[in-house]
């Protein structure tokens, strides 16, 4: 165990205590899943930290090698289960890049809108869960109320609350249902005030501030060196957002700000996410206003299922098309591609090697939480065990994504 942070004890304090090894997790509620931290403690000071992961390893990458491209979508749902539409989008984009196709504009708008809803849903949880880890239980109950609204919206569109599997290569599974726009507009009207509520609840909460401000500071250099991405990196003052800097889908048509903070502490990471929810809200509103008419699926019978499912019952071609795509999938030209999107947790990349068959030869998931979790090595001033909890909570790792 060499790659661990040696943390200096505060000056002038000589404790006569024995060093203790503490197992934090894998069933500890503040580790947000099944993370096990082996901590070497000197009194209450953390001397070394050694994260053990893999308790939720399902072999997604190995499984994907025996699945067709369409069958992999449900696997991607289960990476970051707080925001499946983003994962679906990342995978769909990678395959589309390999095929050299693009989804119709309407499908791109729908995907972006769903991905931003998912971002809000993911950020909402951390907005409430970090204070809960630090003892402020109330916020979590409030954010669950708003997450419920998002879940209802997701259910309305996709039929599922958590594992949506909504994207398809070359589009989305189905069009938006009737009555969706009034419902989401209602959400857009309510939600900004609710964000204000969370802020009022926590911004002046002295306990919350004391336990997050100045705690777990990561400098910009450290954050880049440790490979952090997403809000965690932006909270250290690095102005990088893939949505703006390598625009995919229709993000170049949308107007949004990239939120950065200079401090790099736990509070900055929390704050970044709260402010990002406002920007996501603006993106969703723009998507609703600009939503074009048109198809929700690419018009390529070799890749997309028949749009009108009724035709499967009365047309031989449609039946063959449906059967072929279900049973064998579609072939993807030989080649390899790396495609990354700005998922709620950071850079979510899919590296796919295709050998020309309907199944990927190799699929590598660059999971943002996996990399972000390494930041526990770079945090220099989280001295107390209790600070470790704040650091973990603010890094917002989703263990399903860490363990793949």
């Amino acid at each position: 165990m060499t790659e661990v942070t040696e943390l200096a004890r505060p000056e002038g304090e000589a404790l006569n205590s024995k060093e203790v090894l503490l197992n934090l997790g894998p069933q500890h509620p503040s580790t947000h899943g099944v993370l096990r931290l082996v901590l070497e403690l000197d009194g209450e000071y953390v001397k070394r930290v050694d994260p053990h992961i893999g308790y939720l390893h399902r072999g997604t990458e190995k499984l994907a090698e025996s699945f067709t491209y369409t069958q992999i979508f449900p696997l991607t749902d289960r990476l970051d289960y707080l925001c499946p539409p983003s994962n679906n989008l990342a995978f769909a984009l990678a395959v589309e890049k390999l095929l050299g196709i693009k989804a119709p504009i309407r499908a791109q708008y729908i995907r972006v809108m769903m991905a931003e809803l998912a971002r809000i849903s993911g950020h909402l949880l951390i907005t409430g869960a970090l204070p809960m880890d630090l003892g402020a239980m109330t916020a979590l109950l409030y954010v669950m109320r708003e997450r419920e609204m998002i879940m209802d919206l997701l259910e309305m569109v996709t039929g599922a609350r958590m594992h949506t599997s909504f994207c398809r290569v070359g589009g989305v599974r189905e069009d938006l249902p009737d009555g969706f726009f009034p419902k989401i507009r209602e959400f857009c009207d309510i939600f900004p005030n609710r964000i204000r509520d969370y802020e009022r609840l926590l911004e002046d909460n002295r306990v919350f501030l004391k336990r997050t401000q100045g705690i777990g500071v990561l400098t910009a250099e450290d954050a880049i060196d440790l490979g952090l991405s997403g809000p965690n990196l932006r909270a250290s003052g690095v102005d990088w957002d893939i949505r703006r800097d390598e625009p995919y889908e229709i993000y170049d048509r949308l107007d949004f700000k990239v939120i950065t903070r200079a401090e790099g502490d736990c509070y900055a990471r929390w704050r970044c996410r709260v402010d990002e929810m406002r920007e996501s809200m603006r993106i969703i509103e723009q998507c609703i206003d600009q939503m074009p008419e048109g198809g929700f699926q690419i018009d390529m019978p070799t890749i997309a299922f028949p749009v009108d499912k009724e035709r499967v019952h009365c047309s031989m071609e449609a039946l063959i098309q449906h059967f072929d795509l279900s049973a064998y999938g579609f072939s993807v030209p030989k080649g390899e591609v790396y495609s990354a999107i700005e998922a709620p947790k950071g850079e979510l990349g899919f590296y796919i090697i295709s050998d020309g068959s309907p199944k990927p030869f190799r699929m590598k998931v660059r999971a943002p939480s996996f990399v972000n979790l390494q930041a526990v090595f770079g945090v220099t001033n989280a001295r107390y065990l209790a600070d470790m909890i704040a650091v973990l909570g603010s890094l917002d790792p989703v263990m399903a994504e860490v363990d793949k």
Binding site: E3, L93, L98, G227, W240, Y351, K364, F370
Partner: protein
């Protein structure tokens, strides 16, 4: 969808022209094949060069091309935050696969390399802490290799696995949990 193919290749080819293989641009990303012994020097050059500035390591992953030779590949994805530009580096590795570690260049390489070791058995020389990361200590074999059966090998923990002995690859990196 558009990664700007604005990579300035001249300084790279000037410095490493003979030793590396330039595979050109594949799906908007430049690809270089670097011999394993040059990888640390190459990465450091890309990171420190005043024009290239590839300061962000996105990903390291192993690939198994069984039964072809060279069988393994280590693939590095780099990103330049100042230039908004990506590059892919490949190392072709024999069997048993060995490649120097780039943890000295980016600290984030640590867990990526541990994952590649755990799943493919690629030994990263000079890695400070090359333990398994997903599988438990004492697990035998490397599960993402193409010749590893989907249900694993049969042993007392896994009655549904494939018959046959697990590959005799001693897990040298096992270490006691302190």
């Amino acid at each position: 969808m558009s990664v700007e193919p604005s990579l300035n290749r001249a300084p790279i080819l000037e410095r490493f022209g003979e030793t590396i293989e330039d595979l050109g641009t594949a799906h908007d990303m430049d690809v270089f094949v670097v011999p394993p012994e040059k990888i640390v020097e190459f990465c450091r050059f890309l990171k420190d060069h005043p024009e290239l500035k590839f300061n962000f390591l996105s990903d390291i992953c192993g690939v198994d091309h069984y039964p072809e030779t060279p069988r393994f590949e280590a693939v590095y994805h780099l990103y330049s935050l100042p230039n908004r530009c990506r590059v892919r580096i490949k190392c072709r590795l024999g069997d048993p696969p060995e490649v120097p570690s780039v943890t000295g260049v980016w600290r984030t390489a640590n867990w990526h390399e541990r994952e590649a070791w755990d799943m493919y058995g690629i030994r990263f020389q000079g890695h400070p802490d090359l333990r398994r990361i997903y599988m438990w200590e004492g697990f035998e074999g490397f599960p993402q290799r193409k010749d590893f059966p989907l249900r694993g090998y049969k042993d007392k923990l896994n009655p549904f696995g494939a018959e046959g002995p697990p590959p005799t690859q001693p897990d040298l990196a096992t270490r006691d949990i302190p």
